[in-house]
């Protein structure tokens, strides 16, 4: 039945209507807004007949199978009941809100939120899929947050909304967990499957956790003790919201959930203990608190809590009749509580206050409203002939019938009666304290009757209170039966909706409640004094306090861990890596492998000594920066020698040229950084760092040794075999670089280019003060450009360029290549900068280094793209031998163009960095006169 799919979405379509029509008159807006819910209600009702016959409607389309989510709806008795409540009361609230909201309030926004909520709520009750149920469940939390915080400029509204969202959100997460476990246990997320596997679920080991998690969801939503405190604080919402959410719909979602899963989860001891006792506690706590509220809505909110507890208690009992009673009370409570909230809203609206200490004797000003309120209130108190009486009577009956607590079972009816006493007392207070009890005190407005149509919703609801109270079977009999049957996943038991069952215990309990309640109200001053002895605690403040304390604690943890100390961060990274590697390295039995080792000779020992001593010297002298640089250069030199020694001439060349540029960069930096490093590491810190450093060094050294002494079979023979034939070069390393793995090289020059761009950005806005003296406080020499250096630098340039051309051209066959050539050229140009300075160069050398980078990367890429023309993949190389008269045979290869790109990029990048760095200081620098 596909129309069912559309059922909840009809109101959703309607969320836009109020936003669009809000600019028209408020009445038009309200009417237009009401149209779709009304249509939906009609659609729902059109199915009522069939459902009363025992039929269920289901429809589903697949959505996200991997999480068990299906778009699945079901319309059965329980869903029907709730749908009618949601849509019916929703329509009344739309009408009511039209008058309640002031001109400043954005009615369009309000209706939009309201309809959104209606959609979410319909989704919950119509769901036939667990995940989908949760989906809509969470939507109700969100939309109710928006509604509660409708007056967001008020602190109470913000805090109340946040609290509601937090509590219900937390419950929602628990619910999700519960539903997922439930679904996984049953193997299906289809609701019907779940309902049909009740015995299986109850027998499963997961049952307790499922029950607890799902109930957490239900209890938080339905404001059950001890999560009840959010509800009174949600009263910061506009009253139509309270009338809707906090009487008939959202708070009933938890109840709905328990009813929905009743066949699957209920009727076990665990269920009874948790649900009934929670319900009972909630029932009493709510009733007790209701009496002491001075705020009208506060009273109603607590009374709602109490009634929700009552329903929960019924659902917990696990008997079929109790379930029927619960369903019946859901209906009745929705009707009388919605009307009471609306009445309270009218009083607030027309008198400007909700404080019962100010509100007195309103009967004189608004007798009609007072009458309506009195009827509804009587229903809340459980006065005979009202609907509330009927279900309360059933409740008392059920409390008498249960025996799960064994010999302590008598507790329940006694406490139920006590709750009834309180209910009568606070209902009486609602009437007497507001409409009688003397004259109003300091009301902001003179009270009067509300506009005609604002009263209509109340009238309808109050009429229903009476109608249901007088003709229960006629008015709600079918609906109740269908809903109860659906709840029980079968057929509801026989029950009687008669007004009069004769004199019996439940009636006695009602009478005790009535008399006791009136008595209690009469002597309320004593009770109030008693209550005043307890320190009043605002749950809102406590809640905010807890949240803030959590946040503060979190901040403290974060401040402690993220203490912005790089040293610590590095320490962690290295420690972690050492813990990981060292732990697995310990399983290595022998470090030495089978591969024969090369004998040691004096030359290599000398190099090793040089390397080690200068490395250690670098560490020891790291605070004397220039000297550290000199020793660092030695290390670099020896590393290059090592590469040369172990048959890697290309590496030696590269390392040498990179080394020089690095040192030049470091020297440049040295000038702008402080000239000295203070001694600031504590001895403990030094020891700690030395420990870690030795560990890292030891581990790396060990691994290195273990690797080198083990034989290895690599893919490299392929490269030596194909270097000449496939790549056209005899220098295998270079052929790998520009051909076999040219893509790496393309990436590498890109890195270099990007680094240059990044450095340019760093330099662009750098404002550095230049030191006027060196580390010893000595003023700098006045000789900017020593003659010899200047002249010799010039002479070296052409030679250096020639060498770089040489290195470039031979690269493919002999050690060399574009990168080294580029660095040599760059160093030669740098030498000119050192010898002559920036100004001198600026007028003589007009190279745009940025273009060189772009062109270099471009040339390399294009040389790779060329192969596409021939249908080969990117970077496929091409080479051939040509013959020219006079010159003879020579080779041309695409790799050369690739290398040319490398060459250009390297020069561009290096020069972009160094030349710009040089420009930093071309302006005048402070001079210090020497004092001796």
């Amino acid at each position: 039945m596909s129309s069912l799919i559309w059922l909840p979405f009809l109101p959703l379509l309607g969320t836009l209507i109020p936003l669009i029509t809000a600019r028209l008159s408020r009445t038009v807006c309200a009417l237009m807004t009401a149209a779709l819910p009304a249509l939906t209600l009609l659609l729902v009702l059109s199915h009522a007949g069939d459902i009363f016959q025992g039929e269920n409607f289901e429809a589903a389309i697949p959505w996200i199978p991997s999480i068990g989510l299906e778009l699945a709806f079901r319309l059965d008795g329980l869903a029907l009941l709730f749908a009618i409540l949601i849509l019916g009361i929703g329509l009344l609230v739309i009408l009511y809100a039209r008058y309640y909201l002031s001109a400043q309030d954005s009615i369009g926004k309000f209706y939009a939120y309201l309809i959104l909520f209606m959609f979410a709520m319909l989704g919950v009750v119509l769901s036939n899929n667990l995940i989908q149920l949760w989906f809509f469940w969470e939507l109700t939390s969100i939309s109710s947050f928006l509604l509660i915080s409708f007056w967001g400029h008020k602190t109470d509204a913000r805090k109340g909304a946040r609290m509601a969202l937090t509590i219900t959100g937390a419950g929602g997460l628990a619910l999700l967990a519960g539903l997922l476990i439930l679904g996984n246990t049953v193997g299906s997320f289809n609701l019907q499957d779940i309902l049909d596997s009740g015995p299986f679920i109850k027998a499963s080991a997961n049952y307790p956790i499922i029950v607890v998690l799902i109930l957490l969801g239900a209890f938080t939503k339905s404001a059950q003790f001890p999560f009840h405190f959010w509800l009174p604080n949600a009263m910061a919402a506009p009253t139509p919201v309270s009338a809707y959410l906090h009487s008939a719909t959202m708070v009933k979602a938890g109840i709905f959930l328990m009813a929905r899963f009743y066949p699957a989860l209920a009727d076990t001891n665990l269920w009874f203990l948790i649900v009934s006792l929670t319900g009972l506690a909630t029932f009493l706590v709510g009733a007790y608190h209701a009496l002491f509220q001075h705020d009208l809505k506060g009273l109603l909110a607590n009374s709602t809590i109490s009634h929700l507890g009552l329903i929960t208690l019924l659902l917990g009992m696990g008997t079929d009749l109790a379930a029927v009673a619960a369903i019946f009370h859901i209906i009745n409570h929705a009707i009388f509580k919605a009307s009471l909230f609306m009445a309270a809203g009218i009083i607030d609206h027309e008198s400007g206050s909700r404080d019962m200490r100010q509100l007195n004797g309103l009967w004189k000003y608004m007798p009609y409203t007072a009458t309506l309120a009195m009827v509804a209130s009587a229903s809340m108190a459980g006065v005979p002939l009202m609907n509330g009486f009927l279900s309360k009577e059933m409740f008392f009956t059920e409390t008498l019938h249960q025996a799960s607590l064994g010999s302590l079972s008598w507790f329940i009816p006694v406490l139920a009666t006590l709750g009834g006493v309180f209910a009568v007392a606070y209902s009486t207070r609602f009437i007497h304290d507001v409409f009688f009890n003397g004259e109003p005190i300091n009301l902001p407005k003179t009270p009067h009757e509300p506009p005609r149509y604002m009263r209509v919703p109340v009238e309808i609801l109050v009429a229903l209170c009476l109608l249901v109270g007088l003709f229960p079977s006629l008015v709600v009999g079918d609906l109740l039966f269908a809903a109860a049957s659906a709840t029980l996943n079968g057929t509801a038991p026989d029950y009687s909706l008669a007004i009069w069952h004769g004199f019996n215990f439940p009636l006695l309990m009602s009478i005790i409640a009535l008399i006791g309640g009136l008595f209690m109200y009469h002597n309320r001053t004593h009770l109030f004094k008693f209550q005043a002895k307890f320190p009043s605690s605002d749950p809102k403040l406590i809640f905010e306090g807890i949240v803030q304390r959590i946040a503060a604690q979190a901040s403290r943890i974060i401040a402690y861990t993220e203490n912005n100390s790089l040293q610590r961060y590095i320490f962690f990274v290295l420690s972690l890596s050492m813990v990981m590697t060292a732990s697995s390295l310990m399983k290595l039995n022998t470090t030495t492998g089978q591969r024969p080792e090369i004998p040691v000779d004096a030359l290599s020992i000398t190099c090793a000594v040089l390397l080690c001593v200068s490395a250690i010297a670098t560490v020891i002298w790291h605070r004397r920066r220039v000297i550290a640089l000199i020793t660092l250069s030695v290390v670099g030199l020896i590393v290059s020698l090592a590469f040369a020694l172990f048959s890697a001439p290309d590496l030696a060349l590269t390392q040498l040229s990179v080394e020089v540029v690095t040192v030049i960069l470091l020297i440049l930096a040295l000038f702008f950084l402080p000239q000295k490093t203070p001694k600031e590491s504590s001895p403990q810190r030094v020891v700690r760092d030395l420990g870690l450093a030795s560990l890292v060094g030891g581990v790396i050294g060990t691994i290195c040794y273990a690797l080198m002494t083990r034989p290895l079979d690599t893919i490299s023979t392929f490269f030596t075999e194909n270097s000449k034939t496939g790549g056209g070069g005899t220098n295998v390393v270079n052929v790998i670089l520009v051909d076999f793995r040219g893509f790496d090289t393309l990436g590498e020059i890109t890195v270099l280019g990007i680094a240059a761009l990044g450095i340019y950005k760093l330099i662009a806005r750098m404002r550095l003060s230049m030191p006027s003296a060196d580390s010893t406080g000595r003023p700098w020499s006045e000789d900017k450009h020593p003659i010899l250096l200047a002249v010799i630098s010039q002479s070296l340039l052409p030679l250096a360029l020639l060498v770089s051309a040489y290195i470039f051209l031979r690269g493919h066959n002999m050690p060399g290549g574009g990168f080294i050539a580029g660095l040599i050229t760059a160093v030669a140009i740098i030498q000119q900068y050192i010898g002559h300075g920036v100004d001198w160069i600026k007028t003589r050398l007009k190279l745009d280094y940025q273009i060189m980078i772009g062109a270099g990367i471009g040339v390399s890429t294009l040389s790779g793209l060329g192969s596409w023309v021939f249908g080969h993949t990117f970077l496929s190389s091409w080479f051939d031998y040509f013959y020219l008269p006079v010159i003879g045979k020579f080779e041309l290869a695409s790799a050369m163009f690739f290398d040319l790109g490398v060459y250009l990029t390297v020069i561009g990048a290096t020069m972009l960095i160094l030349a710009n760095l040089g420009k930093l200081t071309t302006s005048e620098r402070p001079t210090l006169q020497e004092h001796d």
Binding site: R158, R162, L176, I703, G747, I754, G758
Partner: protein, 503 residues
Amino acid sequence: MQHLSIFPILIPLLFGAIMLLPPISRDLNSQRICSIIGTLFLLISSAVLLYQISSDGVQVYALGGWQPPFGIALVADRVSSLLVLLTSFLAFSVMLYAIAGKDKGGAYFHPLFMFQIMGINGAFLTGDIFNLFVFFEILLIASYALLIHAGGKQKTQAAMHYVILNLIGSSLFLFGLGILYGTLGTLNMADMAIKVGQLENGTATLAKTGALLLLVVFGLKAAMLPMHFWLPRTYASASAPVAALFAIMTKVGIYSIFRVYTVIFGEHAGELENIATPWLWPLALLTISIGSIGVLASPSIKTLSANLVIVSSGSLLACAAINTEAATSAALYYMVHSTLASAGLFLLADVIARQRGKAEDRIVRSRPFIQPRLLGFAFAISALALVGMPPLSGFVGKIMILQATQSSVQTMWVWPLILIGSLGALITFSRAGTTLFWRHNGSISTDAEPAKFTEILSIGLLLFASVVLVIFGGYVSEFTQLAADHLHNIQSSAYNLLPGVTQ
């Protein structure tokens, strides 16, 4: 088209290079046009690639015509092409934001942006582990340069930590690579997967140390505890489009973990089977925890988003630790979702900051907004997405992760952490939202700038993606499921990726 799988790398590279050349390099407007065209091309080609992959299967692109394992090969499979498409979409959306003005304040924004994309796409596509290192470095160096874009003390300071930590990371990466090459003798990941199963005793132990070093490196990129410290400051201080682009950077680390530890050191690795799991598991959980604590402690929206990135990293690492098809599928979905959602929030935070005067994006009372409804709506949407509440994509990802846990031990740890983490995010977002949008003093700030059209479009695109991910969640999760299946079975079919060797 045969070259399609290299387009996601070449397009940004060429566009980046072109933007360094005159006349485009001289004019910001033409760079903007160039960037938009470039990212649009990228988006289209990535989408076509994804389509092609899902109909024709894996594409191996042998660069230079050298068959793997000898040459470098790009491997475009469902996983990589999905992430490339994600990157491309992110790039396009973020670029829309950037061209509204955030690309000013420093040179080379556009080329750097392109190079960054190139690095990310390359890292996703490459099938060669050393090439992965190269692309890591490309994306890192580009991110360094982008991080300091528009200048400022915080940026410099954050960059200092970020750069140095990553330099250490790169060193460890090379150590790890050296060990792996020194034991396996090859660099192609499929080839490594084959060879790793043949290792014995000492050599296997050595290879393990290399693999674990790589785990540290990837963990550092992925902000795995205790290496996450750099992230909040770095992301919070970066300029908005950069931070939004960074949303995918941690995912590169995660992706590499998935690649390396399911493909190479996965179920068929003999002695080295699933070596990462014992480490990943506790660290992932701790990462979720510290991220959630960070979320609760966040003083500003940008920090909040940054901490959410940590949480998502933790969740993804947990998936990697679970190491099943379902978990990988969940991770892929979650990756797409969290990248887009957090990118959206980073951008939104910038718009918010610009309208609130001195309060910027801090969660304190401030002047009212010029565009309260628009921003409020966008904020609510991104909050829902990031908290993981319906109706936005976060909840799907979250449920997929929860459903992916296998044993009761896993469930016992992951579920509470993820759910409590969500609650923390919910609390923080509700505090932030109510404070930002409802607690006002004074009048609208005089220097407040309204969000420009392309900025709104950009944020809108990113957030709308979240909706699309839910509406078409069935298709997406089916795709991620297939992708995950493929990833977990590469090792057994590695020879298919190696035309250069015979079995």
